[in-house]
């Protein structure tokens, strides 16, 4: 008892403060006391009412100051007071320290508010937070940690003195940096703890130091308990010694590829291998261990550019600039790697889990071609492979890697049985009687026909329910035939243990992105909302232990997240589509409340995904709280809204605002987002002016009278005119959009989500004029581009790499390209030149084929393939001289007849097939006329009214109801939708482009919707939903056209009118008056000045009557009574044009006018320009009579 009494406490504080050992954590646990004015901590001898007898804040502050004085540099100190009512103590301590001043950085934490502290609650919370909530974070921001502690221990207090928000805590023991299931992680941790301190420190420090960075676990599966695979391992080891290049280690999902690679990796670190061998955790092998790898990389969740950056970092070569195109970055990396001696050895795993695996495969393929390199890649065969999935027919990942050497991991039943035996025997020690049961289980699992993953899960369930072992039935029958059935058994087991487990697992099954974080209560909130129950963080922590092999740890948006380890598990819990939808909706509803208080990155990024999962009702829930919408990531909202709402016709107003303004919102601060979203919602004509909304503090738009815009997404990136657009169907069923631009680049986009895909494709040295998709025989599709540089290039749209050499042959620029499939099955590419020639190419060999069509010298402006009856294929060639002629690519002969009559030249062609077998060719003439031709007879099938302006682009857009719309892009930036059978304009004109439209394309999506893509001089690519555009337009009454002048007209009693005028001569100078508060028009528009309204000024005169002065461009002045909207003429004019300066003969145009009320009741309108005033400033003013005897301003025509 003595050593905890008052003297002992003082002695220890004295000892600490007198001999500081640098940064300190001072942890006080015990009893505390406080009232409103003072607080104290109790020692063992303190009386029951501690009072001033205990340790006071002032006393502790003095000890701290003493300590600080002895510290050489600026130290930091963490004081944790884990005692009753310690929050008050901490507040007072902070005040004392402030008073004393100092350089120190101090964090003060009190664990309990007004009530009593529960002993151990703080340490438990801290432990759980560090162990689970931030499990994968090597660094934790101090404020985040405290936020999390505040959440789990309500009522506490914390004070930071001189500690900034960016302070971070770093783990002394590095976090194993891997995404993997938790049971393996537990095994790994267990192994590390069995090592001696020296051994552990050795590996841990190495893991931290970079040379062996994340050695043990950079590859998710570890080598412990690994058994079998001797042949495959030997192949890898031999390859490492004898060969170079790329070695692909592949096999079915769950076959143990990663475990084998982990085994090889462990053996490459001789010291770690020795330790594991000593502990019996590694099979001894005869072969010499492999040399160490220079870089080991788990590709899960990495994009191609990140892979390049990580490899550069590990190899110690300069990383390429992130903003460069991917191909340039790759060139940079391969150059550096080539220069490195000796050539590096790399091991990368889980290619199938990378972001865009095929693109990453293209990177690895280039890297593997570097001379002397040794690159081992672990991957599944196909992107469409997973546990419990039927074996896909394709091997797209292997094809993309194009490796010459492979090690295929086949199922090894005996190894599985050995593994089961070894694990069960190790886990059930001393139960010799289990032998037969273990053998029975091993045989049963071996015979289940599954891979090693199944065995791992089965073993875990057997260990969790040992009575299964004793059962008479074979284990595999009890657990079911596949991974999902084992998971189902596990869910049942967990459910009986804790009813909160199932909701938590459901929560993870519904989690978006890479998983749900514990932080900010996200996981529990998702689980609670989805299931309508209450779950706690304690349940989460318990589940992490009990359900370990089914859970995977990962990292997303800078925080630790958890997910179900395999997709098949999530599918098991989301079988009921209707239930899942309503659950997503419930989550969305919950998030709206959470976003206001805790905008966790998970909510910010993924709430819109939940809304997309929940359908229109969920979107409406979100839309009902616009402030919540403003917190969300605008790109994510736009993406999710486009993929789930476009084509349904109903997009809730605020969501629509985000979709059409995503490109602006991305760069906007949180304050501007509200305004931008509201403005766009108004401009989409969706929000109506509502004066009642003024009470909403966030209401920024009062009202708007603007032209309604069709909802569309704006994709930015190009820096020059977008001159060509093509939809590229992908083999997997998706569609990409390719755009060619005057900035010489070609860009790829995902039309379903409205996002850019990869980096721009660069290579052309001049403007890109034409883009088209080139289908090949093997269902693969290439992208062909034609440019002013005279070349035609082919690209692989998946990898973004050039396919073959540029095809040169045109003497001048290439103005059009088209793909053809001949009756004999050959695929050809046709290109038309500015010099009038048409050339044919073989896209497989990139060589010219057939006979070119020469002799015509008018620029080829459009090329389209036309399929005629009886399988004949022709190419329709439109030219700048106004002719359209069919050309037979097989014979090189052109049709005798041509379709002529396109004054101004043919600007666009498109083909439509209204009913099977009947092809109609469509030509667009430049003068705003669209003509439908019958290509066989060369007669006009139907003249269409066409657009109102020069038609520059055309596309046929098939509708779900079988109609075919023609989208005509116009030089004035608008797009018209025409019904091809009636010629009528459908719906409202699509406006938005700030310059002329140059390209239009129909974009069929895999789900059956068809979007419309447009591009033009304003460098943007825009995506429209033609289905909603076809809905009837709602004209805004009394709309104001181009108000080049606006002026406030003050009225008595604080009312204000808004006057708007147009300076355009052609508009004949109308003037509108509106109520400034409501936007209601005050009568019809007034006829202002025939030469345009140059200036306006409103004034409230001394007699409380208001006056509107308008000045025409030539200087004519008109006066209006805003109340009656009548002109004031003759003697009632009360305006003095002072100084008589509206002089005849002055030809300068008026640009501004200001009417000034004088106290004597007159109003003067000063002259137009400063120079006049300067020159005449000393002249006597006009008549000063207060009886309205004013000088009329000179009228000018």
């Amino acid at each position: 008892m003595r050593e905890r009494g008052r003297d002992a406490v003082r002695a220890r504080l004295g000892e600490w403060s007198g001999a500081p050992a640098g940064p300190t954590i001072l942890y006080w646990v015990g009893h505390g006391w406080s009232d409103d004015a003072s607080a104290a901590l109790a020692d063992a001898r303190s009386p029951t009412g501690v009072g001033e007898e205990g340790l006071t804040p002032a006393a502790l502050a003095r000890w701290i100051t003493t300590w600080e004085a002895c510290c050489p540099d600026e130290p930091w100190l963490v004081v944790v007071v884990d005692a009753c009512r310690s929050a008050r103590f901490v507040e007072l301590l902070a005040g004392e320290l402030d008073r004393l001043g100092g350089r120190r950085r101090i964090a003060l934490v009190g664990t309990s508010g007004r009530g009593a502290a529960t002993l151990g609650r703080f340490t438990d919370s801290l432990d759980a937070t560090l162990r689970h909530t931030f499990a994968a974070d090597a660094e934790i921001a101090a404020t985040r940690l405290c936020d999390e502690l505040d959440r789990t221990i309500p009522g506490g207090a914390r004070r930071f003195l001189n500690i900034h928000d960016d302070a971070v805590l770093r783990r002394a023991t590095p976090v194993p940096e891997y995404a993997g299931s938790l049971d393996l992680r537990a095994v790994l941790t267990a192994v590390l703890t069995t090592l001696s301190i020296d051994e552990r420190r050795h590996f841990v420090s190495k893991a931290q130091g970079g040379e062996l960075r994340a050695d043990q676990d950079s590859l998710g599966e570890v080598g412990w308990y690994f058994t079998g695979r001797e042949q495959e391992r030997q192949k890898i080891l031999d390859w490492l010694v004898e060969s170079s290049g790329m070695l692909v280690v592949t096999g079915r999902a769950g076959s143990g590829k990663s475990a084998l690679l982990g085994d090889v990796l462990v053996r490459s670190r001789s010291q770690l291998a020795r330790v594991l061998l000593d502990h019996g955790l590694l099979d001894p092998i005869d072969a010499a261990p492999p040399a160490a790898f220079d870089c080991t990389l788990q590709l899960t969740g990495l994009a191609a550019t990140e892979v390049i950056a990580r490899i550069s970092e590990d190899l110690g070569v300069a990383a390429p600039e992130q903003l460069q195109p991917l191909t340039a970055q790759l060139d940079h990396l391969t150059d550096r790697v080539r220069a490195r001696t000796p050539p590096p050895r790399l091991m990368v795993d889980a290619l199938d889990e990378a972001v865009d695996p095929l693109r990453v495969a293209a990177v690895l393929r280039r890297l593997g071609a570097v001379a002397g390199i040794r690159l081992i890649v672990g991957t599944r065969l196909s992107t469409r492979e997973g546990p419990d999935r039927s074996h896909p027919a394709d091997t797209d990942l292997l094809d993309a890697l194009a490796a010459s050497r492979q090690v295929v991991i086949e199922r090894d039943p005996d190894a599985i049985a050995r593994y089961v035996t070894r694990r069960l025997t190790a886990a059930l020690p001393g139960h010799a009687g289990n032998g037969p049961a273990v053998a029975r289980a091993a045989a049963s699992i071996r015979d289940a026909g599954q891979e090693i993953l199944y065995a791992r899960l089965a073993v875990y369930e057997l260990l969790a329910q040992p009575d299964l072992l004793a059962a008479a039935s074979p284990v595999a029958e009890l657990l079911g035939p596949d991974h999902r059935s084992i998971f189902a058994a596990a869910v049942a087991r967990l459910d009986s243990k804790n009813p909160a487990y199932r909701p938590l697992l459901v929560g993870l099954a519904l989690a978006q992105g890479r998983g749900a974080p514990i932080r900010d209560g996200v996981w529990t909130a998702v689980a609670a909302a989805a299931n309508g129950v209450t779950v706690t963080d304690d349940d989460v922590i318990a589940l992490l232990g009990d359900g370990a092999p089914y859970l995977a740890l990962d990292s997303d948006h800078g925080q630790t997240v958890y997910r179900l380890a395999h997709r098949t598990f999530a599918e098991h819990l989301t079988v009921d589509g209707e239930l899942t939808r309503s659950r997503h909706q419930a989550i969305t509803r919950r998030v709206v409340a959470e976003l206001e208080t805790r905008p966790n990155p998970y909510w910010v990024r993924y709430t819109s995904s939940d809304a997309a999962g929940g359908g229109l009702p969920a979107w409406k829930e979100l839309d009902a709280t616009p402030r919540a919408v403003d917190v969300l990531d605008p790109d994510a909202v736009a993406r999710d809204a486009m993929r789930s709402l476009f084509g349904l016709g109903v997009v809730p107003p605020h969501i629509a605002g985000v979709v059409s303004a995503a490109h602006e919102l991305r760069a906007a601060g949180p304050a501007d987002r509200i305004a931008i979203r509201q403005v766009t919602a108004y401009c989409a004509g969706i929000l109506r002016p509502d004066p009642g909304q003024d009470s909403d503090s966030a209401q920024i738009v009062n009202w708007a009278s603007v032209r309604k815009r069709q909802l569309h997404a704006i994709l930015t990136g190009h820096t020059g005119r977008v001159s060509a657009i093509a939809a590229i169907p992908l083999a997997g069923g998706g569609t990409l959009l390719a755009t060619g631009s005057d900035d010489t680049s070609v860009r790829l986009w995902d039309p379903a989500t409205g996002t850019a895909v990869g980096s721009p494709l660069t290579g052309h040295t001049a403007e890109v004029y034409a883009v088209t998709a080139v289908p090949l025989a093997d269902e693969q599709t290439l992208l062909a581009t034609g440019s002013r540089d005279g070349s035609v290039r082919l690209w692989d749209p998946v990898s973004g790499a050039p396919a073959g050499d540029p095809m040169t042959g045109h003497a001048h620029g290439v103005s059009a390209v088209a793909a053809l499939r001949l009756p004999d099955g050959r695929n050809l590419l046709a290109s038309g030149g500015e010099d009038g020639s048409v050339l044919l190419w073989d896209p497989q060999t990139c060589t010219a084929v057939g006979d070119p069509w020469t002799g015509q010298f008018s620029r080829v402006s459009a090329l389209v393939p036309v399929l005629l009856p009886r399988g004949r294929v022709r190419l329709a060639v439109g030219r700048a001289n106004g002719s359209v002629r069919l050309w037979d690519p097989a014979t090189g002969r052109s049709a005798r007849r041509s379709m002529t009559g396109h004054p101004g030249g043919v600007s666009a062609l498109t083909v439509m097939t209204p009913s099977a077998g009947r092809t109609v060719l469509v030509a667009a003439a430049s003068r705003g006329r669209v003509t439908l031709w019958n290509p066989i007879t060369c007669t006009v099938a139907r003249p269409l009214m066409g657009g109102h302006a020069w038609v520059t682009a055309l596309a046929a857009v098939p509708q779900p109801d079988g109609r075919i719309l023609l989208a005509a892009g116009n030089a004035d930036g608008s797009v018209d939708l025409l019904d091809s059978s009636t010629g009528a304009v459908v719906g409202s004109r699509l406006t938005g482009h700030a310059g002329g439209v140059e390209a239009v394309a129909a974009v069929p999506l895999s789900d059956g919707r068809t979007l419309l893509a447009t591009g033009g001089w304003d460098t943007s690519l825009r995506l429209w939903d033609p289905a909603t555009s076809a809905a009837a337009d709602r004209p805004v009454a009394g709309r104001i056209v181009s108000p080049t002048r606006v002026a406030a007209v003050p009225r008595p009693f604080g009312q204000t009118l808004l006057a708007a005028g147009n300076a355009d001569r052609r508009a004949r100078g109308p003037v509108w008056l509106l109520d400034a508060s409501t936007g209601l028009p005050q009568g019809e528009e007034m006829t202002g000045h025939a030469d345009g309204v140059a200036a306006m000024s409103g004034v409230l005169q001394a007699d409380e009557r208001s006056l509107l002065v308008t000045v025409g461009r030539a200087g004519a002045v008109k006066l209006w009574n805003p109340a009656t909207r009548a002109r004031i003429e003759g003697r009632r004019r009360r305006v003095v044009t002072a100084y008589h300066l509206w002089r005849r003969g002055d030809t300068r145009e008026v640009s501004a006018a200001t009417a000034v009320p004088l106290p004597d009741g007159r109003t003067i309108l000063p002259p137009r320009a400063a120079t006049d005033l300067c020159g005449c400033g000393t002249q006597s003013p006009g008549p000063r009579s207060a009886t309205s005897r004013t000088t009329a301003p000179e009228r000018r025509s």
Partner: protein, 180 residues
Amino acid sequence: LTGVPLPDGRTLLATGAVGDPAVWLWDPVTAAAVGGPLTGNGGGVWALAASSLPGGGSLLAVCDQSGVVRVWDPIDRTAVGHPLAGARGLAAMAAVVSPDGRILVVTGTDDGTVLVRDPLDGRCVLRIRFASRCLSLCDLGGGRFAVGLSDGVIVLSLSGRTEISTLEEGQGARSRNSAP
């Protein structure tokens, strides 16, 4: 040319000309120049706007040809606060009194960008880029202002901005303000 309301109820006239960096103030009643010119407005005066505060004091904003807005106190004849750059291609300018009693300078440029900035601390209170060109601006009183766009009119209110601005500060938003 713009009227400069003074706290005493009088209105002065401010005049500026393209190509001349001087801004003159005039008394419209006597037609006499009030003091000398306010100089230092870049290469020439592109636009003028003025407003007075309910509690007294008024400010005159001058946008020069390079798109830099300087704010003057017309009574003291001194420059106030920070020059606000970034109004190149100015189409219109207005001075708006915010509900919390600050004079804010609204500039609209022909690329559709409307900026609302506080000249005293150089902070950007609001930034919107419209899809259409901005043609004209005017103060409507009560923290409201009208924006004339190539496809219509929209009236914005700054009444809710105070609270939001605090939020922006709290988030340490990138300063895109054009302090010199």
